[in-house]
């Protein structure tokens, strides 16, 4: 039987709970991409992200009743489970991420950069990107989540708030703090001149 693409997640989950493998596969394919990307960006490790995604869906196979339809969408629920797994992963191996870890789409994933730039410029950009990646991975988790969702994934504040199950104001303030920390880590602030006398506040 063909599954309609617009079929709602809870209906798919219901069928999946009854043993419909096709429904489960559809559910997995619908959600694995965003979850995997979120995990990769949060952990900086494709292996960790793979393990996290597997754990999340394994939970859905074994204990589907943990998801309560009345408490939100399945996507938000899966994000929540993934966040817990990411947190556990960080506690287990806080120094696991490194500059060399670049996931499946590694550092050579931009051939257009090869074509357009000189080797020196390319090396400079690569170094810069590595610094940014390291700075993001060193952010405290709550700030990193906001930065990953709003800056890397370019979600709106409302979407990020739904994914993290918190108010929009919380996202806004976390993002503000995350941006400030990133700028500080990347030593950009040193280029900012001392406050001019004309500056108010």
């Amino acid at each position: 039987m063909q599954i309609e693409s617009q079929e709602r997640d809870d209906a798919l989950l219901k069928r999946s709970t009854k043993g419909d493998e096709l429904a489960f596969t559809e559910l997995y394919r619908r959600h694995q991409g965003p979850l995997y990307r979120f995990a990769v960006r949060m952990t900086g490790s494709s292996w960790a992200a793979e393990e996290i995604v597997q754990d999340v869906f394994m939970m859905l196979v074994r204990e589907p009743k943990k998801y309560d339809v009345s408490r939100g969408t399945l996507g938000a629920f899966l994000y929540g489970v993934a966040r817990n797994r990411i947190m556990k992963h960080m506690e287990r191996s806080p120094r696991d991420f490194s500059l060399d870890e670049s996931g499946d789409a590694g550092r050579d994933s931009h051939p257009q950069l090869h074509e357009q730039m000189t080797p020196a410029r390319w090396a400079e950009l690569r170094e810069r990107r590595d610094q940014v990646r390291a700075a993001v991975l060193e952010l405290p988790q709550e700030f990193r989540e906001a930065v990953v969702l709003c800056e890397l994934e370019e979600k709106s504040y409302e979407e990020a708030a739904r994914a993290l199950d918190c108010p929009v104001g919380t996202i806004r303030s976390r993002l503000h703090r995350g941006r400030a920390l990133l700028l500080a880590k990347l030593e950009m602030l040193r280029e900012v001149p001392k406050r001019a006398n004309a500056c108010r506040g």
Binding site: E21, Y28, G33, V40, L182, M188, V192, A196
Partner: protein, 240 residues
């Protein structure tokens, strides 16, 4: 922090710019805030530099995001999950089948024992009825042949079907095909035998008690052959 409406006079502090001004040019940008932030940028070189640095960093973040924009979990994850899914649901089906089978077997066993018990009850009741009818038949025959004297033989060959001694006072049951011997030629011999041995003498025996040992008085003729039998009362009670 002030609300957007409060920026009507296009005044914004550095702190306020840091909170909201970095959203300039994004979907989160608010009209009034945008105006206030742009005005502040023109007047404050510190915030202008901050904004410029932020735009560069945002560009780097977007590039970083684009690196992993299309990545997905490896297909081996899906394979593992599907395998786990199959295993889990196969186990559930097996458990359900075992559950149903168990209950079916229990029900079948209960039914079997119920039928067996009913059959046994019917069989036993049938035997009892048969025995009772034979007793009645024997009693009526005895009444026809008159009152028995001590030491005499009662009944005829038709009584050989069931061995019945009404009491231990000396009533003998004539064996089939035997003639009643003269009292002076007969000898009473008391023997112990299995009830099944009575069958050899032509008498009907209840199979359920065929293996019982009983005491029997045999009336033996002058030719040495038993002509009639008598059960002492204690044995009679267990005959049936």
């Amino acid at each position: 922090m002030r609300a957007a409406d409060d920026f009507g006079e296009l005044e914004m502090t550095c702190e306020e710019f840091a909170m909201t001004g970095l959203d300039l040019g994004t979907a989160e940008d608010d009209g009034l805030l945008q105006k206030a932030a742009r005005e502040h940028l023109r007047e404050c070189p510190h915030c202008a530099a901050l904004h410029e640095n932020w735009l560069a960093l945002r560009q780097d973040l977007r590039v970083l995001g684009a690196e992993t924009a299309e990545v997905e979990a490896p297909s081996r994850v899906e394979m593992r999950l599907r395998q786990e899914f199959r295993t889990k649901h196969k186990t559930v089906k097996t458990q359900r089948a075992a559950h149903i089978l168990g209950w079916s077997l229990a029900a079948a066993a209960t039914l079997f024992f119920a039928i067996t018990w009913v059959n046994w009850r019917l069989h036993r009741d049938g035997n009892m009825a048969k025995t009772e009818s034979n007793v009645v038949q024997t009693a009526s025959s005895q009444q026809k042949s008159g009152p028995a004297s001590p030491g005499s033989v009662s009944g005829g060959s038709q009584l050989g079907e069931v061995l019945v001694a009404s009491n231990g006072s000396g009533d003998f049951t004539l064996l089939p095909d035997s003639m009643p011997p003269a009292p002076e030629d007969a000898t009473v011999v008391r023997v112990q035998m299995q009830r099944a041995a009575l069958e050899a003498l032509g008498l009907t025996v209840n199979e359920e008690h065929a293996g019982d040992w009983i005491q029997v008085d045999l009336l033996v003729g002058d030719d040495g052959l038993p002509q009639a039998v008598r059960l002492p009362q204690t044995a009679t009670e267990t005959t049936n």
